[in-house]
């Protein structure tokens, strides 16, 4: 909120140094964000937290400033000249719902002439960001900015029966507010009505019908106190936010209403002429009850970790208007009417501590039991996945948790799709309206952006949650998505095996149980180069070449290899690797080239080899695969490299040769394959 510095210091008994004042206000909880000169005066932008409506005006902040720089607060004096005519004889006020309006004060000023307010006052309002309008409106705004009491000036002649009735609105009652909008009201709204109809939305905005205008001669000034929640609900429902509602919503001071009405009447009479009628019309059916609290300074000192002198605490509370009575370490206080935020002793701790200064509290680390900190298993899991992906050469990206509904609709067919979509009730944009059920749409959009920038090589992953609704319950699951495209570091065009190698590295590093790769099963992937990943028959992800339709949808002009894995399928705790005796005798390696039909999958071949090879085969790996032209694409040659080893002696070449011969025979019988 903007404060005029001169206006602020007018309320103090001494003129503080501006730098010191700014520093002390900040240290006591009122951050001075900006200091500048506007329209001929110093303006400070001060952050007032929502719990401190009492400081959203110059006098309120001056009260804090007086304590912060150890100055004093000037008494508030209004020199009001009244005419003989009694306000009570001119108008009447009735409160139909005292719960929602505990107090309503009205002042009458008769015989005003509408004109502009003086230059100096206009500039002061402008410095605080308020546009000058006319002397009467400016006077009400001035008092609001000075004392924090929202006011409203009615044209008395336009109030039917010169009556004010504070009541709930009728269902479907309509009111055109000052901004020209016709509002449809309901019974939970509080209105100010005259003898016939609603003329203002209580605590929010006046009505157009009863507005001050050129012909106005008599003015009724409203200075009231409204229930915070009622104002807040109505303002929210109607999408309104005004200076008045901002303050009433946070809680206004019922006791300031009378003084504020005096100040406004005095100003209007001074600036627009006219006579102030004698007395206020003050309807106060629910008088304010003071709250009393007792502060134990010893307990406060223990809580703060700082020895606080009771006399210092009392001085602070005195300056803030709490009327402290010191009795040894105990201080009895009365919470002033402007401090709607102070309800408990804990709130008093803060009052004293922030003015003693957080900076004076000595920093001491707590003495704690020494027990090692533990990470939640889910963090261990997702970071294992991340580490494995990073070790596989992939760069991590983060994309939005919400996606376009059109993109989400494509996700249904993905293996392991978690359920039905979870839509936001109030999205920021239609393109971010659904919680993602897969990481792939976000990753593909990011990939498109990268490729459009001219990048040729893509090797990225994302770890994050996907969301879905299952039986009406929201569900979350951790996923890893991978995108690979372009060339590898050594200049080769990436292919399925590059993707698979990285996915396998992630599966191993994250400690997944044995994963089976099955061709097909995912509409997102190319029919020939796509796989569903399964653990014991249940899908846990997919990997392969992005299908052409999807590539076209995301406008991707080069082949993209993608994968997505459900991290929830990994083991919660990785098993501790166990020692096996290291071999003491040398191994003999022997290659075997198997010639077989294309349709025989490697998994089946290697499964048969493992089963038939016997105990001497320690391990095997793929050495080469040939499916060149001369084989006419019907058969392939798969060369396996087998490692033979005997645990207790060196093997001879003859033994290995014999084993290879036996294996060839067995394989030929089992699979009908040949050998090259």
């Amino acid at each position: 909120m903007k404060f005029d510095l001169a206006w602020l210091t007018e309320h103090l008994t001494t003129e503080p140094d501006a730098d010191v004042l700014a520093q002390r206000l900040t240290a006591s909880g009122f951050l001075v964000e900006l200091r500048e000169n506007v329209a001929g005066g110093a303006v400070w932008d001060v952050e007032i937290t929502t719990n401190r409506p009492d400081a959203m005006n110059h006098r309120g902040l001056a009260r804090e400033a007086a304590v912060a720089v150890t100055s004093g607060l000037r008494p508030l004096a209004v020199a009001l000249a009244e005419s003989d005519e009694a306000a009570d004889d001119v108008a009447a006020v009735e409160i139909a719902d005292p719960e929602l309006c505990p107090r309503y004060v009205a002042r009458i000023v008769r015989g005003v002439r509408l004109g502009p307010s003086p230059e100096a006052l206009q500039r002061r309002l402008e410095r605080c960001g308020v546009r000058p309008i006319n002397a009467i409106v400016d006077a009400t705004n001035y008092v609001l900015l000075e004392l924090g009491q929202p006011l409203h000036a009615f044209d008395l002649a336009r109030l039917e029966g010169r009556r004010i009735v504070v009541r709930r609105a009728h269902e479907e009652e309509r009111l055109t507010t000052l901004d020209g909008v016709s509002r449809r009201l309901q019974a939970s709204d509080l209105v100010i009505a005259d003898g016939e109809r609603a003329v203002a939305l209580a605590g929010i905005m006046g009505g157009a019908d009863s507005e001050i205008g050129e012909g106005t001669t008599d003015v009724l000034i409203e200075s009231a106190h409204f229930d915070a929640l009622t104002v807040r609900r109505t303002a929210r429902r109607l999408g309104m936010h005004t200076e008045a509602s901002h303050r009433f919503e946070r809680g206004s001071d019922p006791e300031i209403a009378a003084v504020a009405s005096d100040a406004a009447a005095e100003m209007i009479a001074r600036l627009a002429g006219g006579r102030v009628c004698r007395g206020r019309i003050d309807v106060y059916p629910r008088p304010w009850q003071a709250r009393r609290l007792v502060l134990d300074v010893g307990a406060l000192s223990a809580f703060a970790g700082l020895d606080i002198d009771p006399s210092r605490a009392a001085a602070i509370l005195d300056g803030l208007g709490f009327g402290p009575a010191v009795d040894g370490p105990r201080i009895a206080v009365t919470v002033p009417s402007h401090r709607v935020d102070v309800e408990r002793v804990a709130d008093l701790y803060e009052e004293v501590l922030r003015h003693v200064g957080y900076g004076t509290v000595p920093a001491r680390l707590p003495v704690l039991r020494t027990e090692p900190g533990r990470r939640h298993p889910n963090w261990e899991l997702v970071d294992r996945g991340r580490q494995a992906a990073i070790a596989a050469g992939l760069a991590e990206v983060v994309t939005w948790s919400f996606v376009d509904p059109d993109d989400d609709a494509l996700v249904d067919g993905l293996p392991g799709c978690p359920g039905s979509p979870l839509a936001l009730a109030n999205p920021l944009a239609q393109t971010q309206a659904i919680m993602r059920r897969s990481l792939l749409p976000g990753l593909l959009a990011a990939a498109r952006a990268s490729l459009n920038r001219g990048e040729r090589r893509l090797a990225v992953f994302e770890e994050g949650r996907v969301f879905a609704s299952e039986d009406g319950q929201p569900r979350e699951a951790e996923r890893i998505g991978v995108v690979l495209s372009g060339t590898t570091e050594d200049g080769r065009v990436v292919d399925f095996a590059d993707l698979k190698g990285r996915v396998e590295a992630i599966l191993d590093g994250t400690c997944f149980p044995v994963v089976e790769w099955r061709r097909g099963g995912s509409p997102w992937l190319d029919e020939d180069q796509g796989a569903t990943l399964e653990i014991e028959g249940a899908p846990i992800g997919c990997a392969g070449l992005l299908a052409a339709e999807l590539a076209a949808r995301w406008d991707l002009r080069q082949p993209l290899y993608v994968a997505e894995l459900d991290l929830g399928a990994a083991m919660a705790t990785p098993p501790m690797p166990q020692y096996r005796p290291l071999p003491r005798f040398p191994a003999v390696t022997a290659d075997m080239t198997v010639e077989h039909p294309v349709g025989l999958e490697y998994r089946e071949l290697i499964g048969a080899v493992e089963e038939l090879a016997g105990e001497l085969v320690e391990s095997m790996e793929l050495e080469n695969r040939y499916s060149g032209d001369e084989l006419e694409g019907r058969v392939v040659r798969t060369t396996l490299r087998l490692v033979y080893r005997h645990p207790e002696r060196s093997l001879t070449q003859d033994e290995v040769n014999a084993a290879q011969d036996r294996l060839r025979e067995a394989l030929a019988r089992r699979l009908g394959v040949g050998f090259a």
């Binding site: 900040t26 240290a27 006591s28 909880g29 900006l34 937290t49 929502t50 719990n51 807040r232 919503e249 946070r250 809580f303 703060a304 970790g305 408990r344 804990a346 701790y349 803060e350 957080y358 900076g359 509290v361 001491r364 680390l365 707590p366 704690l368 027990e371 900190g373 990470r375 939640h376 889910n378 963090w379 990073i390 070790a391 050469g393 760069a395 991590e396 990206v397 983060v398 994309t399 939005w400 979870l422 839509a423 936001l424 009730a425 109030n426 971010q432 919680m435 990011a446 952006a449 990268s450 893509l458 990225v460 994302e462 994050g464 949650r465 609704s469 929201p474 979350e476 590898t488 570091e489």
Partner: protein
Amino acid sequence: MSTSRLDEARAAFERDLAAAGDDPEAVERVRVAYAGRRSGLLGELTAALRELPKEERREYGRALNELKELIGQRLETAKEQARTAGSGRGRRPVDVTLPGRRPPRGAAHPVHMVRRRIESIFLRMGYDVEDGPEVEDDWHNFEALNIPPDHPARDDQDTFYLPGGSLLRTHTSPVQARVMESREPPIRIIVPGRVFRRDSDLRHSPMFHQIEGLLVDEGITFGHLKATLEAFLQDLFGTYDVDIRLRPGYFPFTEPSAEVDISCIFCHGSGCGMCSGSGWIEVLGAGMVDPRVFEAVGIDPERYTGFAFGIGLDRLAILLYGIPDLRQLFEGDPRLTRQLS
């Protein structure tokens, strides 16, 4: 037996080759002596095959082939060694200023790098790292934290709602409430995680990350909070040697509350664009746990006190790495990640 001659030849070759060491000329002499086309020993041994009785030829032939292969391989290796390490002619120096051949390298996202650093600091202080759902209920996100319906603080945390009354958590604080509901003090946790607010501009992203901290025990003081945050920030900003300032603030779930600033790491406190001229940068919010929160989660506020804090993870990341716009973090651009790793 005839193969014993082969064994002798093999032993002699090993001896001679070892003696030749890294000297290319000596290795060449060994080559000529054993594998030389005209007078090499292997030639002699091959010729000897014809003189053997038929029944011995097969075994001799196999052993001879093995020996030939072995000698060939060993000579190749020795020649290569002599060339690279040797002191004689034919060496080829490497241009050591050429770029090395690096293995493919991955990289972590800056937010997660900073998260891990912060986790490690608090783990060393004995805190547990907790986790919780991103889709929350109203109780844990608001009510248990002393933010009843219609509380003005709900305006500051514009919320994304989901059908059935659930919502996207607006802070990581609900995990505080969850842990306090399920565990007896002492409690010492931090909670990193993703949070959402319905807000998007230069300084706000509808999705961002926080780290919540909570310590509850008997006799916990405001001074403890201060020391803990100072220790954390000094460790995190280490080389910047920052000043730390706590000033009163407002959060519904702490009383008293504090905003924590560090002296601007760009201008060292003299005032610049990054700190809006103030010399200070707000890095986190903190405070002593409000007794109402303790009551809501069933912890005795007469017996226990505690402190809580909330760190804007993305904000710290952009500060530490000097990234100008928060939203750049979530554009999925791997160049950012690779650049900062």
